[in-house]
């Protein structure tokens, strides 16, 4: 195999196990004597639990135990928490209602767990769970965030009067008011961001065991951040002290945010395994996933954009109501605030911005970060406003954006973020050219001759990744620091293990991270292993989300590599009796510049471990660790162009072309980056056209399976035209920005802008289902007839 360093399209090291069926996911794990858990769940969105009768269930075959919330509370297991404190504009802290892993008193959403059955087989556990009789007193429910704020709405938590969690603001309201007072044109819209269900293809799962002699717990689980899981399970949930709890996230089948959080079921398995004295496994079925995995988005906003007479933006005013569901999930409070409103400046010079965000409890599943988390909501709002404003003032959408682009860096926005580098003209130009924007009119005419409506839409997105400088997020309310750790272990034979606190669940870290080592030492990637996902192996880490594993995780590896390289050079210099500064590393060898003296990397590694002849005072071994705390967010940005064709008879929208031009900074493996963009685009297109988590007025989730929740399938989407345009991020050693979320962030407004362009009507909410589009087509046909 060739040496594949930075920039190589290296094939993935992890693939062989996945394509031959040798992956090891949590549900593939089997422990001797393990039992299986099934949960008793509320069929009501809001109800008092009057009584639980488990007598019939307990007498059924194979049943070990039926455990309830009273027992859980009695054993001192703590409430689930939200780890990011947000204060309302009046200075009061957010109102967090109690969330117990098994609820003994009041259930607040359909699917909330009330009891757990442990039995010999999954089927026996399910049979017995069905036989647990729960007596409920139903309470009125509310599912819509706006309705939940109205006087007289059902009160969900005693802690949060009127269901208001916080009433937060950012920006300079007076400056915004002044901008609007002198505006030449104001564009005003109500913008809804639909509720989504993340739907990684692997449902959540947990396998917990307890060794009573050691008083030690082990949890295999579907986690994006096993160390954070252990920290929270120990420090807040009181399951076990950290040194008595090992959390392993083995192969994980996708996350998209939904596997960041610690959920009731995983906690209950840990607790139950100790209670019943056998390992306990739980695997979510898909409907449980729909009912209990944290959902994403669900915003309603009013937005106003002020322009001067020259069509330059002078102000943006936003009022958003965000639905957080029945409980505050782990990072839920940060999503509609610091991950959302701080991106409202988009790629544009906007001198004044003010945003007010109210978050609300409803009788629905908890809402938290889902791919993009806050940034898709901001981008959708800004880019729908930009397109609409351009149409209103009669400028081409591209020209209007160009007129308002940020071109000087660093650029301080009025909403905290300081953009460090970018070239928004470059990605816009590239996207317009790739999309043959100039030729659109002819294509539209040709489509019309076939009875089809054709439209084109732009989206110029920016996001903030590389989450995040610890001191900065700490000052904004985060309960944890968001650095990353790495350890590089060179073995005596010269192979390398890299331990990282990042976690790969599809991102290909085993390949991309190894490319750094290949680049640095000239080693074949077969000589490198990436170790992650086990709290017994890796000391600590913050996990993978927010497109942070490159910019933060790999930066930590680079720092550790710097130390390894320095020590290896010292050893080589000593052994070859040369000056340290003359040692160069090339092709797996340490050479003395200008001579033919050299040692292989293996020889130097062996020397470090035999320690027979090391420089005076040097410790044996070749192993170094590093923590990297980012200095700023990173700011990936780009332009997406979507072209659609609509069948007015059915309202069917076909995406006939989709172009993405992205700036991700330094790209380590273009193949993997392209894959990340493809996946993100389809999730964004899914949000725009297909996906919606719909509740009825009683709080029943109407879309609780793939029969009703429209997942994008292969025939719903096109192949994509991608390109990248690099401006280096000055804030980290590799110049990386992150690519994991861009597709999902940038694509929804491009799709909706294209459809509204085709229809000549702006009155469209996501998802743009065939029926909604057909309804608008009827209007268009009627208008034409009049």
């Amino acid at each position: 195999m060739a040496i594949e360093g930075i920039g190589a399209r290296a094939l993935r090291k992890e693939d062989k196990r996945f394509i031959t069926g040798k992956g090891q996911y949590t549900d593939d794990m089997v422990l001797p004597g393990m039992g299986h858990a099934a949960f008793v769940r509320s069929p009501h969105a809001h109800a008092k639990v009057i009584g639980i009768d488990a007598s019939a269930a307990l007498s059924m075959p194979g049943v070990d135990a039926v455990l309830t919330g009273d027992q859980l509370v009695g054993d001192g297991i703590g409430n689930l928490i939200c780890g990011w404190m947000i204060h309302s504009k009046d200075g009061t802290p957010m109102k967090m209602g109690g969330w117990r892993a098994l609820e003994p008193e009041v259930v607040r959403h359909v699917g909330q767990a009330i009891a757990v059955v442990v039995a010999d087989t999954p089927a026996e556990a399910r049979d017995a769970a069905d036989a647990v009789v729960v007596d409920y007193e139903e309470l009125p429910a509310v599912v819509d965030a706006v309705a939940a704020l109205e006087p007289g709405a059902p009160q969900i938590h005693p802690e949060a009067e009127g269901n208001l969690i916080y009433d937060w603001e950012i920006g300079d309201e007076a400056a915004v008011n002044a901008a609007f007072a002198s505006a030449a044109h104001v564009t005003k819209m109500e913008i809804r961001n639909n509720r989504l269900v993340p739907n990684p293809m692997e449902p959540r799962a947990a396998l917990a065991s307890y060794n009573d002699a050691e008083e030690h717990h082990t949890l295999y689980t579907t986690s994006q951040n096993p160390h954070v899981a252990r920290l929270v399970l120990s420090a807040f949930y009181n399951v076990a002290p950290e040194h008595k709890l090992r959390v392993i996230a083995p192969d994980v089948g996708g996350g998209f945010g939904s596997k960041i959080y610690i959920y009731p079921e995983e906690m209950v398995c840990l607790w139950a395994s100790k209670r019943v004295g056998r390992p306990v496994k739980w695997v979510s079925d898909r409907t449980e996933a729909f009912l209990t995995d944290a959902h994403g988005r669900d915003h309603v906003s009013e937005a106003e954009l002020a322009l001067d007479a020259d069509n330059r933006i002078t102000g943006l005013r936003v009022k958003t109501i965000a639905n957080l569901g029945a409980y505050m999930s782990l990072f839920s409070s940060s999503v509609p605030t610091y991950l959302y409103a701080t991106l409202l400046s988009g790629q544009y010079n906007i001198p004044a911005i003010h945003a007010n965000v109210k978050t609300v409890y409803t009788n629905t599943t908890a809402v938290d970060a889902y791919r993009g988390a806050g940034r898709p909501e901001a981008t959708y709002l800004v880019e729908r406003m930009m397109e609409t404003a351009a149409r209103e003032v009669g400028l081409s959408p591209a020209d209007f954006r160009r007129k308002n682009f940020v071109r000087e860096f660093p650029h301080q926005t009025p909403v905290i973020m300081c953009y460090d580098a970018g070239d928004y003209d470059a990605t816009l130009d590239a996207a317009l050219q790739a999309a043959d924007y100039a030729g659109f009119a002819a294509r539209k005419a040709e489509a019309a001759s076939r009875g089809k409506l054709r439209g084109i839409g732009l989206s110029c997105y920016i996001e903030a990744c590389g989450i995040a400088p610890s001191a900065a997020v700490g000052s904004l309310g985060a309960g944890v620091g968001l650095w990353e750790s790495a350890e590089v272990r060179v073995n005596p034979v010269g192979t390398v293990e890299v331990l990282t606190g990042s976690h790969s669940h599809g991102q290909g870290h085993e390949t991309t991270f190894a490319q750094l080592i290949s680049e640095r030492f000239g080693l074949d990637s077969d000589a490198v292993s990436i170790v992650h996902g086990d709290t017994d192996k890796v000391q600590f880490g913050m996990g993978t989300y927010g497109s942070r594993s490159g910019a933060v995780g790999m930066s930590a590896i680079v720092k550790a590599l710097d130390k390894v390289e320095a020590k290896a050079k010292k050893i080589a210099a000593h052994l070859m009796e040369a000056a340290e500064g003359d040692i160069q590393i090339e092709g797996g060898e340490l050479k003395v510049a200008g001579t033919d003296k050299k040692l292989s990397f293996t020889e130097v590694a062996l020397a470090a471990y035999t320690a027979h002849n090391l420089p005076e005072g040097m410790e044996p071994g070749l192993k170094e660790g590093a923590f990297y705390d980012p200095t700023n967010f990173t700011f990936p940005a780009g332009t997406y162009v979507c072209e659609v064709e609509i069948d007015p008879e059915t309202g069917q929208t076909e995406i006939v072309s989709f172009v993405a031009a992205d700036d991700f900074g330094k790209v380590i493996n273009p193949m993997i980056v392209e894959g990340q963009v493809h996946g993100g685009l389809v999730q964004g297109i899914g949000q725009a056209l297909l996906e919606n988590a719909a509740y009825d007025e009683n709080g029943q989730l109407l879309t609780a399976s793939y029969m009703d929740y429209t997942m994008p399938r292969a025939d719903d989407v096109p192949s994509f035209n991608l390109s990248t345009h690099e401006t280096l991020c000055p804030g980290n050693p590799l110049g990386m920005k992150g690519c994991g979320e861009a597709g999902a962030i940038g694509s929804p407004p491009a799709v909706i802008n294209a459809i509204t362009d085709a229809l000549g009507s702006n009155d469209l909410t996501m998802p743009a289902t065939p029926e909604k589009v057909w309804q608008l087509c009827q209007g268009a046909v009627k208008q034409a007839a009049e």
Partner: protein, 163 residues
């Protein structure tokens, strides 16, 4: 309980299982072949696709006892790390997988699709249409479609070369 016997990846196996045991559970839990996955409850996602008597079926929507007497092939049965099936190799070559969870069903459906249409006879539209019963959340399908097309074309070349 019924005695279920089948040829599984070329090996005759037999176990007594509850009649309600699904084929996927027989494969995973009874036989320990965990390459076949379960991603939904409604026969939509296709992560569980295996071949029964040469045809792709959803192993979550078939009882083990229905497959008694049949020849069943799973992902583990079409190739190995040292001898990849051309479709397996193409998925790696074209980055047709990310988290790997839908991959078993994608590959088994792809092999079936190539068998039915004949190697070399697949275009992008046909592949996308044929993948209706396989959901992937990571790849956006772009590279899966590319991988299947490449495998199909490559297998056509192989069979031509063999003639």
């Amino acid at each position: 309980m019924s005695k279920v016997s089948m040829v599984l990846n070329g090996k005759t196996v037999s176990s007594d299982v509850e009649d309600r045991t699904l084929l996927v559970s027989f494969i995973r839990d009874v036989r320990g072949l965990t390459g076949t996955h379960v991603g939904c409850d409604t026969s939509q996602c296709g992560a569980c696709v295996v071949h029964v008597d040469g045809k792709a079926v959803k192993a979550c929507t078939m009882l083990a006892v229905q497959a008694s007497g049949s020849d069943v092939v799973t992902l583990e049965g079409i190739g190995s790390a040292t001898s990849l099936h051309p479709v397996q190799a193409a998925f790696r070559e074209h980055h047709g997988l990310q988290c790997g969870f839908c991959t078993p069903g994608m590959i088994m459906s792809a092999v079936d699709m190539i068998n039915r249409h004949g190697a070399g006879n697949l275009d992008e539209a046909t592949i996308r249409d044929e993948l209706e019963g396989n959901i992937c959340r990571c790849t956006g399908y772009h590279n899966i479609v590319k991988a299947i097309k490449a495998a199909s074309d490559q297998m056509a070349g192989m069979s031509q070369a063999a003639e």
